[in-house]
């Protein structure tokens, strides 16, 4: 089903949101992706991914407080939803299952 499939980049973004927890907004995510994963993407790519995640119901968004930074613009903050968490776990389990199924000989050298 296309509706709740979690793409590779989407999975990274979703994980980053979870990592940043209370301060996960566009630029925070962008920087975290760059530092931890070495993925340099533009902010528009991040927002596009966020848009898709939100449509699938994996993240929730809310506006933060007004601060003098960013020209007075509020941050759009994201949080992983229950179904987002489930999707991450499912993906992790799937990978774990695959790892365990790999015969020892396969990565011999």
């Amino acid at each position: 089903m296309k509706g709740d499939h979690l793409g590779e980049f989407e999975e990274l973004v979703l994980l980053t949101i979870a990592v940043l927890f209370d301060d996960s907004y566009g630029i925070g995510i962008q920087h975290e992706l760059k530092e931890r994963c070495g993925r340099g993407v533009t902010i528009s790519t991040v927002h596009a991914a966020l848009y898709r995640l939100k449509k699938k119901g994996f993240v929730d968004s809310r506006y933060g407080e007004v601060t003098p930074e960013r020209g007075g613009k509020r941050k759009l903050l994201f949080r992983v939803t229950k179904s987002g968490e489930a999707a991450l776990k499912k993906s992790k389990e799937m990978r774990n299952g695959l790892w365990q199924a790999i015969p020892k000989l396969a990565f011999d050298n």
Binding site: Q30, T45, H47, A48, G71, R74
Partner: protein, 868 residues
């Protein structure tokens, strides 16, 4: 480093990403931009910015998330319900709104029908884009649409660029006979054989391209054919014209549509006219119109120039460069709306201006009705302030309130529309009569009209609803709900301005009506310089009738009730023949024509024109008679002054219209055409052989009886010819018919406008009376008298009506002055008209509000105060 983003960036993001995401994304982009500005410098930060904005373009394909209000469908149902309840609950206000809007819309729809009818004129001709009428530019505003008879044949022979040419002229007073059916026919047209190939009149029988090739042939309309031939096909049958020419019917066309400029019942050719001896073959006299059809790929201007240079110039001195500046092919499509046509009794300005005037009037009434709606809605906003506050508290935003009130206005407009359509169907008959139209009820179903209906409805709903919607949606919930907010008062100034506008427009319409009626009265009663009352004319159409004239005259005069009998070539009310006059010492710059009429003996006496110098025509001077190229002239003062400024023109030699002779008499100036034009030069020649009308002056005794006597004598002498008479003063009435119509229409409109405005005032007055109940009660408790309180309540409104005069007067002075300028002889209207209009408006306004006001003023203060 802080750096603001340009505003278009924000705009772009908002439109790309929707209003919900926008702020967050704007913030992110701004933060990145600021960051890069410090690290990388402005240029590279900008490059990055564009890159990022480019990346956002993908959001075009994403569904926008606007806000959190997803229950709009439910709310619309709710608005509808509330809207209905509002209408039902306030019956008086709803009536005022519905009636006002309904009447206004009915009015504008009628005018729309009229304009549509007017614009649809002649559009049924398939080749209309290629048809032109030949006109001459005389170097002033007016073009001259009449041409000489020889122009069309010359164009046909010499100008290959022009496909087809036809001359056109209407004839009335012809006699048609088929066996025992013999009638006078007044709607004949004379054309050339190309006519039916150029203009699309539907041929039911016969071949349109050859129908008029033979001089003795004719084309009848369906109803005329039925009148003479019954149900049988008339093709190939013969019909007798004027008791002597036997014409073969070669074609039957469908009846000429009402919206055609050409109106006729049957057509025959100019060749026949020649045979009848009524054809003036000349280049100097202009007595018909010429139409041409030119292919779209031909250069119109160049062809016009060619026709002028190769054909027209030099044919006669009236076509010299001094008098005719250019030849114009006036597109037939717009001719009716734009031309000044020469109609024999002066230049009659055509319809475009009238269309504008009427459309303007329709919009004006509609606007006045819209103002009512705005006023009442804002005035009563206090009643709904709590509702709005409540809505806002539970989450409505401005947009919701706005759409609610626009929707309410649309709802009311729809109800008003039903009323308006009902009114239109009732009023169509009287309207047709008033406007001289024949708009049919089934035209209400046409597509154009439906578009008009929808257009008017939306326009009214928007105009009437927009201000209340904007105003009401801006209420602040906290203030409103606390109860300190007097919602109705805030918009009071605006309402006052609207009332002033309403009454100003109404007063203007009243002024207009008064001025038009006064001018019409002036025109009717003005001494024309001769006596047109109790003067009838009888057409002497046929040779037999002309021959019988002398014995008729003798027999008629034996009746003591008949004061005078004379004859003339042209009706005194329609002296349309003019030529260049020549006399010694004529100013070479003087190009204006001299009108002339060939008259019989006793002409001046019959018309009551007194000679001021010289003498009348007399049988004692045989040289007076203009039979053989010479004869005497009687001229008017205007011509006398032209011929010999400051001196005496008596005895001077005048050459005019084929005659030459001395001036034997001078008459005072009199109005022989419409009062819209200055008195022109006119000369009378004595020419008893040329006569087409007998003029009979009656005593004011029993006119009916006298006319019966006239008829008996006529029928005794000429049993084969019908006796048909007209009163001369009716001719004059006809000249001002369009002005009369304007007056009637304006009168109706001003009544309507003032009724609608008064309704609005009534609503407002009852509202304020209610608002100020407590104030009035306290005043009364403290000892104010009823009259004092009434004065207090009325004063505010009456001041507005008085203020309305401030702009109504200059407007009236300007526009009506302009209208009066279309008359060469006009009234001057002074302060009296203004005062009368203002007084009328004031009295009506007072009558409207006095009832509400008095009710408040006499009410028992206890009732109003007991709840405090």
């Amino acid at each position: 480093m802080k750096k603001e983003l340009p505003s278009w960036v924000e705009w772009l993001i908002r439109n790309l990403c929707g209003s919900y995401l926008a702020e967050g994304i704007q913030g992110d982009i701004q933060q990145n931009f600021e960051d890069r500005n410090t690290r990388l410098g402005n240029t590279r930060a900008r490059l990055w910015l564009y890159l990022e904005l480019g990346g956002l373009l993908r959001f075009i394909f994403y569904k926008k998330e606007k806000g959190k209000y997803k229950n709009s469908n439910i709310m619309f149902k709710e608005y509808f319900k509330i809207g209905l309840r509002v209408i039902v609950r306030n019956k008086v206000y709803s009536f005022i709104n519905l009636f006002g809007l309904g009447a206004g819309m009915a009015c504008s729809l009628l005018i729309y029908l009229w304009v549509q009818d007017e614009m649809s004129f002649d559009r049924f001709h398939e080749q209309i884009d290629e048809l032109y009428s030949v006109e001459f530019d005389q170097g002033n505003v007016q073009t001259f649409a009449s041409t000489a008879s020889e122009l069309a044949p010359a164009i046909k022979a010499q100008i290959p660029e022009i496909d087809m040419v036809s001359r056109y002229r209407t004839y009335s007073r012809l006699i048609l006979q088929k066996e025992q059916n013999i009638f006078h026919e007044n709607r004949a047209t004379v054309v050339d054989s190309d006519f039916f190939n150029m203009f699309s009149f539907e041929f039911l029988e016969g071949d349109k391209s050859t129908a008029l090739d033979d001089p003795y042939s004719t084309v009848l309309t369906q109803s005329l054919a039925k009148k003479y031939f019954g149900e049988n096909s008339p093709i190939g049958e013969t019909i007798k014209l004027n008791n002597e020419h036997l014409l073969t019917v070669r074609g039957v066309i469908a009846d000429v549509p009402v919206n055609s400029s050409f109106q006729f019942d049957f057509a025959f050719s100019f060749e026949l006219l020649k045979i009848m001896g009524q054809y003036t073959e000349s280049w100097s006299s202009v007595w018909l119109q010429t139409y041409v059809k030119i292919n779209p790929d031909v250069n119109i201007e160049a062809t016009a120039e060619k026709v002028l240079e190769t054909i027209v110039r030099g044919k006669h001195n009236r076509w010299d460069e001094e008098s005719v500046k250019a030849l114009i092919f006036n597109p037939f499509k717009t001719k009716r709306l734009k031309s000044y046509a020469y109609t024999g009794s002066g230049f009659e300005q055509k319809n475009l201006q009238t269309i504008y005037t009427f459309s303007g009037l329709g919009l004006l009434i509609l606007f006045i009705a819209c103002i009512n709606f705005m006023n009442l809605a804002t005035a009563r906003s206090a009643k709904r302030a709590k509702e709005i506050g409540m809505r806002k508290v539970v989450g409505a935003v401005k947009g919701n309130i706005r759409s609610q009130f626009l929707g309410e206005s649309l709802l009311q407009t729809c109800f008003a529309l039903i009323l308006a359509l009902f009114l239109v169907s009732i009023l169509l008959g009287p309207f047709n009569q008033l406007a001289g139209k024949s708009v049919q009820l089934d035209q209400l179903l046409s597509r154009g009209f439906l578009i008009g209906v929808v257009g008017v409805t939306l326009l009214v709903a928007f105009v009437a609803g927009s201000y209340p919607a904007l105003y009401l949606s801006s209420f602040q919930p906290l203030k409103v709900l606390k109860g300190h907010f007097r919602a109705g008062m805030k918009s009071a100034t605006f309402r006052k301005v609207l009332v002033v506008v309403q009454f100003g427009l109404s007063i203007f319409l009243i002024i207009g009506t008064l001025v038009i009626y006064a001018q019409m009265k002036f025109v009717r009663e003005k001494d024309l310089g001769y006596d047109k009352e109790q003067l009838i004319y009888v057409g002497l159409i046929h040779e037999d009738t002309r021959e019988a004239y002398n014995s008729l005259k003798t027999r008629w005069l034996s009746n003591p009730e008949i004061r005078n009998v004379t004859a003339s070539q042209l009706r005194p009310s329609r002296v349309g023949n003019s030529s260049t006059g020549y006399w010694e010492g004529k100013d070479p710059e003087d190009y204006s024509d001299v009108y002339h009429n060939r008259v019989s003996l006793d002409f001046l006496e019959t018309l009551g024109i007194e000679i001021s110098e010289g003498r009348d025509f007399s049988p004692e001077y045989p040289s007076d008679n203009a039979n053989d190229q010479s004869g005497g002239f009687i001229i008017n003062r205007q011509l006398a002054d032209r011929m010999n400024p400051g001196g005496n023109a008596m005895g001077m030699n005048l050459k005019l219209g084929g005659s030459e002779g001395p001036v034997i008499g001078i008459m005072p100036n009199f109005h022989f055409s419409s009062l819209k034009v200055d008195i022109q030069s006119i000369a009378f020649m004595l020419h008893p052989d040329v006569k087409s009308y007998a003029l009979i002056k009656l005593n004011s005794g029993n006119i009916r009886e006298t006319i019966t006597d006239l008829e008996e004598t006529w029928l005794d002498q000429l049993p084969d010819y019908p006796f048909e008479y007209h009163f001369l003063d009716e001719d004059f009435e006809r000249m001002y018919r369009s002005d009369e119509q304007l007056g009637n229409l304006l009168g109706t409109f001003s009544i309507l406008a003032i009724v609608i405005a008064s309704l609005g005032l009534f609503g407002l007055a009852s509202f304020t009376a209610e608002e100020r109940r407590k104030e009035v009660a306290i005043r009364k408790v403290l000892g104010a008298s009823i009259s004092r309180v009434t004065y207090l309540l009325c004063k505010d409104f009456l001041i507005l009506v008085v203020l309305a005069n401030l702009f109504a007067w200059p407007l009236g002075k300007w526009i009506m002055g302009d209208w009066l300028d279309s008359f060469a002889y006009r009234i001057d209207f002074g302060i009296g008209v203004f005062l009368l209009a203002a007084g009328l408006a004031l009295v009506i306004a007072l009558l409207t509000i006095i009832f509400q006001t008095l009710r408040t003023a006499v009410s028992n203060p206890v009732v109003a105060l007991k709840y405090e």
